[in-house]
Amino acid sequence: MSLALKPAVVLERSTPMSGAVELVVHHPPAAAALRPGQFFQLAVAAPQTILRRPYSAAWADPDSGRIGFIFNVVGAGSGWLAVRHEGHELDLLGPLGRGFDLDGSKPAIIVAGGLGVAVFPGVVGALVARGRQVTVLLGARTSAQLLPSGRFPGAEVMTATDDGTAGYQGSVVDLMPVALGRFPPPQGEGRGGGPEIFACGPTPMLQALLEKSRRLGVPLGLIQVSLETPMGCGVGTCLGCAIARPGGGYLLTCLDGPCVRADRIDWSRTADAFHG
């Protein structure tokens, strides 16, 4: 764990898709330490706020020391972040938590709904670099809100929009059968065959995904999700980011996650985990 001590410096601010902001910051040690799916606790100086805000790194480049964050404005903290620009300093703590488990060789299907896509550019890059076959399923309300498929070089991208302005009209989850259909079916619960799934998005989408996967016979153990819960510390000291574990008790999203296999969560006790 290389916890950033010196502030990062903002290099670029752009609009990767409608309604979102991408900040590129410079912080070589953090960029070098980051594993895809990990997050940072970003300090924000917004009125009335005190806590840091958790954000997944969208990607990091150890060579240039650059890290990208993609986010939308939902409240005071993200509103403050959204008006950072070149030259501003950003106080970040991290990288924190566990990223996705990218080892193995199965084909990978990425399921990203809305801003859930923010965590995936780096993940897809890493999977492609490992020689894995990657299909990215991107969903958004409308075409302008889709992260351009050029951000996923080496992967096949399929899109779904609620209003049908790009790709399939409907939920990104509905693309699952098509994407899965190309591969040999999974071999039961043993994580044997079939592709691995990496998902991030709002509650209803994730719930629909798990439901659909169950029906398609995809074992939950083959699905990794990136969780969002409120976070106090991000480092395991506040116990605020609990998420129910099957059979009782809780995991900590910040230490045991944010990326976990779906079978490690008791979804029936987890309605609140995502701020969709």
Binding site: M1, L3, L5, A43, Q48, T49, I50, L51, R52, L93, T229, P230, M231, G232, C233, G234, V235, G236, T237, C238, L239, G240, C241, A242, I243, A244, G248, G249, Y250, L255, R269, T270, D272, A273
Partner: protein
Amino acid sequence: MAEQPDLSVHLGRGLCLRSPVMVASGTFGYGFDAPLVDRTALGAIVTKGTTPRAREGNAPTRIAETPSGMLNAIGLQNPGVDHVARIYAPMWAAWDVPVIVNVAGDAVDDYVGVARRLDGVAGVAGLELNISCPNIANGLQFGIDPRPAAQLTTAVRAVTRLPLLVKLTPNVTDIVAVGRAVEDAGADAVSAINTYVGMAIDVRRRRPVLSRGSGGLSGPAIKPLALHAVWQLSAALSIPVVGIGGIMTAADALEFLLAGAAAVQLGTVNYVRPQAAREVRDGIASYLDEHHLGDLGALPIRPARVEAHV
């Protein structure tokens, strides 16, 4: 800062800290997870509230941010005293910072059991009785009334030679009465304060944000309230008062020390600026220097300097 002024404080019964800046219970785990912290910058570590048996804690959602504060209803998730005594304490014994175990429970026997189990365990430098946790059923039963507070203190005092801090709740009409009661019952110091009971409602979903409905408010929002509690307590008690509540900076800590606190604990700020304890300690040292004050004992404002009935 080549030569630091003497920042040491004594909290009674041999508990001597090299700095008045401690980290508060529930905001530093058991000392293992907190990042970036130079433990030598700490006066002491106070652990998460520890109960006789392991507790899972409350269902999520457990925390919520509020203006300049946060609500928590963790529900005393902890591995139980046995784990603490067997696994953690031996590691603490090797650290050069005292570790004080925060003790919680549902009944007098729980507190007594934890205290007894920890008495004489190497690595445990003191106990802080949490009679002020708003986040479990009956968590405040001992803290809101002088009599049960005193009875509990007496019972624990009887089974341990460890320095005993009693952590008070501010959710009372008269905190001084409770403070006096635990002083008389043998507490070596009081910690003031634990969180204020509050709540937040999710307007979109039309229900309380926290699964328990209510939670404890901490952070800068409560600083003026906590400071007043410490001001009153330190005028009334003869044992040391450890000031807690919303401290973010050295200036905040100095407010408490000027109000009469012997030491302070940093809570919520540990989540925000992991290096806060060191900064606060250094800031206190500089202040003593600049004001030509020899040591911490010179800090408290004499209550006589202002009107009496505040």
